[in-house]
Symmetry: C2
Subunit: 357 residues, 2 copies
DNA sequence: TATTAGCACTCGTTAATGAATAGTGCTAAT
DNA sequence: ATTAGCACTATTCATTAACGAGTGCTAATA
């Protein structure tokens, strides 16, 4: 006894076997029915045959330890974020998804020769359909991918259209402004030079190395050089904010857990501005496998009534971006985690086949 | 008297002055407060000083003519789609939008050198913010725009990446499959040929004329010819389904007019599948100026509890796509119509400046 | 003849009431 | 250590009654 007054359950201490089972039972029941669960109902459904009174004692302890809360005196108990975290940690690896779900993906993964953006859009659309929650996917970061080809196209005296094709199969375009006018022929020379020099290098490498690389080749390029440096610098300096596709936002507003005015507004704001979601997806790119943010575990107030399940996707050589599902903290974690895991892996596979190396 | 039993108001007949004012008053009141309006409240707010009893008679007539309905016996009257149509028709040209709204657009319209897609995304985002409804914009149809440049990039033995740049500033890419492998050098020749031959022609023209044009030049191109025809056909045959950006869908679900379960579901479906919205935007491209679909006036059941305000946008030479706002039939038409009108014109101006001719 | 006052009537909203229900916490018995 | 029993609390649900907003009709009025 540490003097906190708890009988069998302490803060920051492993729960005993029975408490674990009770807690898990409560969580699963709440996930299924979205209603506070009481000792009576629990004593029926639990495998361990315990009387309501005993369960009440356990529940009381769990409440004291912060795993459960009551909405009011005579209501059942509802799991807290801490409880969901316990529950998720206790889950084993993602279960395999049923064949009928796998079949839904087959048109996406078989669509050879599609643009990456198209694959992403289809995937997130399907994911939203399967989960009935809001789903997001970030487009591949150009930075991490390697160069397949660059094109410079003159579109006016002071504007050049830059088109970058990455090995991952992503086409990015931007317009750069120049002070002096260049002929298309001249641009073709620069293009040829840049392609020869930088094909298969990552954008990051190119940006870091563009100066010295060109300098070392000085003998081969004469007046081309100065311009190539300048154009190349501009062309490869694409710190675009990163894009994402969102689907199924409206599903969230239908969910009973978001029927309160206040939480709805902040949710809408979050999906409106997108920055919070993008940051979370970016963060998730650093980890392997499925990443889970439960309620307050993510840093963005607007989303702290939600749980986010994310997973990164990649081609053969690089992590490119990530996908995510946003739902209520009482989501069916088993189902969602498995689905996200499967989707991310399949997406990785599909995109790897599309990649140009 | 035609024997229908109506006193002063007939189906398919112009309303008399007084009935018009009463109807307009009811509509504007309902637009403002979203609640059935009764004879009492109306007799206070109306400029014509009439007693509630008189107004009741007029309202009764209007109800008989299909302009008003009652939700139940002792409730006030609510305008029908027919009433909104009358109201909208009676509006004069779009009013000018306030300066403070114009200022919000200035960062968008001043962002020179942005990709067209980016401009569209910003615009629809802002429109959603201004209207607090769901807003859509269709991306420029490649078909109607003229060719600025085409690039063919070899990415594997049997795949070629086609990049089309249109005069409108849109970059489109797709992958085509070929049976025989071509060297990049060979593709460069084909590219040069296609660019020389078809620059400034519309995709439609190119597709129609590609065969004869090449045949007539037979003397200049030898074995290139057969391949160029084949590749060109594939490259320019882009019947992509057309894309769109959507913003502010969630706003709709907050609106009190969509709180019934049934209508919510069909709304979500409509935004999920997008086809209905795309068709409506396509349709709107054929008309000049603002186009208004009130309730049942559009052909898609899922959207028949909404009104849609659309307007096409264009560059100097062609209509490219259109924008639209989706809201309840009781939206503030004056405000929305003006805003859509202004937005479309500004978008046209901005994109014209971006265009490459 | 057009307008209005007056009145009976309908229906929805609201508040109050009470019974039923689902839950808890505590205590004493097992 | 477990459980039965009991007092207690809060929500939900159905019932009721009062109220209000609104209509339609009729008769009086300008």
């Amino acid at each position: 006894m540490t003097g906190t007054g708890n009988k069998g359950v302490h803060e920051n201490q492993a729960l005993n076997e029975r408490a674990r089972i009770v807690l898990q039972s409560i969580i699963e029941n709440y996930i299924e029915f979205s209603e506070p669960v009481g000792s009576r109902t629990l004593s029926k459904s639990i495998e361990f045959k315990l009387s309501p009174a005993t369960i009440r004692n356990i529940m009381s302890d769990l409440a004291e330890s912060g795993f459960l809360i009551q909405t009011h005196t005579s209501a059942g108990r509802v799991p807290t974020d801490k409880a969901y975290r316990f529950y998720v940690n206790s889950l084993s690896e993602p279960t395999t998804v049923p064949d009928q779900i796998k079949q839904k993906f087959s048109p996406v993964s078989n669509g050879r020769g599609s643009q990456v953006e198209h694959i992403l859009a289809e995937t997130v659309h399907l994911l939203a359909d399967l989960t009935k929650f809001a789903c997001v996917v970030s487009t591949p970061k150009a930075e991490v991918s390697r160069l397949q080809r660059i094109e410079l196209i003159k579109i006016s005296e002071d504007r050049i259209l830059v088109i970058l094709v990455t090995k991952a199969g992503v086409v990015r375009d931007k317009i750069i402004f120049v002070k002096e006018s260049h002929s298309q022929e001249f641009l073709n020379s620069v293009t040829a030079f840049l392609n020869e020099e930088f094909k298969n290098h990552s954008m990051q490498e190119i940006r870091d190395g563009i100066h010295q690389s060109i300098v070392s080749d000085r003998h081969r390029y004469h007046d081309l050089l100065a311009h190539a440096v300048r154009l190349g610098k501009k062309a490869f300096d694409l710190n675009q904010p990163g894009e994402m596709f969102i689907e199924g936002q409206m599903n969230l507003l239908l969910d009973s857990h978001f029927h309160e005015q206040s939480s709805v507004r902040s949710l809408i704001d979050a999906f409106d501005q997108k920055t919070a979601l993008l940051k979370i997806l970016d963060e998730s790119m650093k980890h392997k496998g499925v990443h889970i943010f439960i309620g307050i575990e993510n840093d963005y107030k607007q989303l702290q009534r939600c749980s986010l399940i994310t997973a990164s996707y990649r081609n053969k050589k690089n992590v490119l971006g990530s996908i995510g599902v946003v739902g209520p903290t009482s989501m069916n974690y088993k189902h969602i985690i498995s689905t996200v895991d499967y989707t991310a892996k399949l997406l990785s596979k599909t995109i790897s086949e599309q990649s140009y190396d």
